[in-house]
């Protein structure tokens, strides 16, 4: 996973090496996608504290290729932006976990890989208890959902601030369940942060 890209991960056009020089001097990650592909993503300037991007056509394509086609290499696409945004984060970061069965099926945890690529440290305290997805449920069903997470065995939730990291905020149920669990187990405060706003 650590080699440098010679071609854009999304459109396969050759990447300009000049940008790599700039990257070297400014200690940035070398580019993994071309300028044109980068420009297709839409930054979320209004709520930057809780999410980085807006959902659009480019993001839909990205999620399809990353999650559905299992293109782990795409974890690199947002590493610079994620790194810049999270490098000074004081809270302890917890990526939303997948159900172990689902993770085995996909062969990787897409949230963990995003953070790994961005060289952002994280820990895991939670375990997903269901393989169901929340987006397929209506409001009524969501409200009655049994707990989506439990704490991992042999861990301790400390009295401090945690930051939950998920890919996209749609119904909010997932993040709500995780937040409640952590607060109930003794966390001082829990904030949320997503790659994409819903």
């Amino acid at each position: 996973m650590n080699k440098n890209e010679t071609h854009c991960l999304l459109c396969t056009q050759p990447l300009q090496l000049i940008t790599s020089w700039k990257a070297l001097l400014t200690k940035q990650f070398p580019p993994s996608i071309c300028e044109k592909c980068l420009a297709r993503f839409e930054r979320n300037t209004s709520h930057e504290s809780t999410s980085l991007y807006r959902y659009n056509e480019a993001m839909k394509d990205f999620l399809h290729q990353y999650k559905f086609l299992q293109d782990v290499a795409l974890a690199k696409v947002f590493r610079q932006e994620l790194h810049t945004h999270l490098k000074h984060e004081k809270a302890t970061i917890i990526p939303i976990p997948m159900h172990p069965e689902k993770q085995k099926e996909r062969t990787f945890s897409h949230m963990d890989e995003l953070l790994k690529s961005a060289k952002i440290p994280y820990i895991q305290l939670l375990e997903k208890t269901t393989t169901e997805t929340q987006s397929s449920k209506n409001r009524e069903e969501r409200l009655q959902t049994p707990p989506l997470f439990r704490l991992l065995p042999d861990i301790r939730v400390e009295y401090k601030e945690y930051l939950l990291f998920d890919d996209i905020q749609t119904t909010g149920t997932t993040l709500q369940h995780a937040t409640q669990l952590l607060l109930g187990a003794g966390a001082e405060n829990v904030r949320i942060f997503t790659l994409i706003s819903g």
Partner: protein, 455 residues
């Protein structure tokens, strides 16, 4: 034998015969696949081989840059996958490929043949020569100018092969061509099960005697075909992507011949076939010479266009077409330029439209031109082949650009005069300097005309 009571579902055999298929992507029930494996009906191959060097066993990609290593939650170690054929379902070191070696489908040898067309003497000759090569199992190149009627030439050989119980594939780099050829072959062989395979194609039932596929889809076949015909063999990306050429070799049985059909064969292809099977049709089916491109200088056209001004010569050319009510195509070297000039052309006529490769309305726009709903279309090289529009006139703007290779220019010129009633027309290369490629295109067309119409 453990599963005595189990009967092989014919659909499973029909689907998997000739295919190399990801085990976790098979459309059949896990249980049936398990039993078929226990009966030794499948040869199982690792998805990615790492010795002696890394290679994808489906698409044959060996380029290290196109593989990604990662910590795999399934196989619990460092795993690797191929990004080159990712769209067909990811192949990694913990996936396996299934290759059928079980009982074979019954070889149907009766194939209704419905074709009452007439060949020109040259078509007849090429058709006979091709058939001879098929019988002798040798490779063959059909070099037929644009508009020679090359599809019809294939019918006789395909019919012969089908009646021998052979499995035939017609492959082409372009989806458009698959979509165009499929109904024509289905009409000629109305009782034959034919599949059309391309990215996003619907599921098709049964065992296909005749497969029409993009060259990409051939990654998914192995030693399947007794005869492969590669149409438009010089089209992008076939010549650029070595794995597509390997795919053709892998999809056919080792001893099976390949027939190449193209209007613009590369030197390499010509060299390979000059001494084996080779047919040349220098003349169009309607017995009129090919329109010869003319040159017209358009110095610094990019500057004027960027300033929002259409050069006078070009403007006149369009106005001429409009007054004479002739549909036209204007080829441009890049999308960026097309975006700039489209509004300018629309000042001349508001209904002029533009198409490029990623345009989802491509088909509709071409149809509008054909139905005379719009006067003309601006396009990139995406429309250089495969389209036929009655009485169309063609201009290339920036013919000196490197994207306009000799073969691209020949194909573009080949759009004009295809209809018997409008056998001539204007092909103009607007340029900022004449290139070798332009000269080669024109010389090749003139040479074909000379051969087709000797004095």
């Amino acid at each position: 034998m453990k599963y005595k009571g189990w009967l092989l579902p014919p659909a499973l055999r029909d689907f998997h015969e000739g295919r190399i298929w990801l085990k976790n992507h098979t459309p059949f029930h896990e249980d049936d696949i398990k039993r078929a494996i226990e009966r030794n009906y499948f040869y199982i191959k690792e998805g990615i081989q790492t010795i002696p060097q890394i290679k994808c066993n489906r698409c044959q990609n060996e380029e290290p840059q196109q593989f990604t290593h990662f910590e795999c939650s399934k196989c619990q170690k460092t795993c690797v996958y191929c990004r080159h054929c990712l769209n067909m379902g990811r192949i990694s070191c913990c996936t396996t490929l299934l290759i059928w070696r079980g009982p074979q489908t019954y070889k149907q040898k009766q194939h209704q043949f419905e074709w009452a067309g007439q060949f020109t003497p040259l078509q007849q000759q090429a058709s006979d020569e091709m058939l001879e090569s098929v019988k002798r199992q040798r490779n063959h190149l059909v070099h037929a100018v644009c508009g020679a009627g090359k599809t019809e030439i294939l019918f006789q050989s395909v019919h012969y092969a089908l009646e021998k119980g052979l499995r035939v594939c017609i492959a082409t780099p372009r989806t458009d061509v698959v979509l165009e050829l499929f109904p024509r072959f289905q009409a000629v062989f109305p009782k034959t099960n034919i599949h059309a395979l391309y990215g996003g194609a619907p599921k098709q039932e049964g065992y296909a005697r005749l497969v029409m596929a993009t060259t990409h889809q051939l990654y998914r076949f192995q030693h399947a075909f007794d005869l492969i015909i590669v149409d438009e063999a010089d089209a992008f990306p076939y010549t650029f992507d070595q794995t597509l050429q390997t795919a053709v070799q892998k999809a056919k049985k080792p001893e099976s011949p390949i027939i190449f059909v193209t209007a613009t064969p590369s030197q390499k292809l010509l060299q390979q076939h000059k001494r084996s099977g080779y047919s040349f049709i220098p003349k169009r089916y309607h017995n009129h010479p090919l329109p010869v491109p003319r040159y017209s200088s358009l110095w610094r056209y990019e500057n004027s266009l960027n300033k929002g001004k259409i050069p006078l010569k070009l403007q006149r050319w369009i106005e001429d077409r409009l007054t004479r009510q002739e549909p036209f195509l204007i080829f441009l070297p890049k999308v960026a330029l097309m975006d700039i000039v489209t509004p300018l052309f629309q000042i001349i006529h508001p209904d002029i439209l533009a198409v490029h490769a990623e345009d989802t309305d491509r088909k509709e726009k071409v149809l509008k031109l054909r139905n005379e709903e719009i006067p003309g279309l601006l396009t990139t090289t995406i429309l250089e082949r495969g389209i036929t529009i009655k009485n169309v006139q063609v201009a290339v703007v920036g013919a000196e650009s490197s994207i306009f290779t000799a073969s691209a220019l020949i194909q573009i010129a080949g759009r004009v005069g295809r209809n018997q009633a409008y056998a001539d027309g204007d092909v103009v290369f607007f340029h900022h300097g004449i290139t070798v490629e332009m000269d080669e295109a024109r010389a090749t067309i003139e040479r074909s005309n000379k051969e087709g119409f000797p004095r």
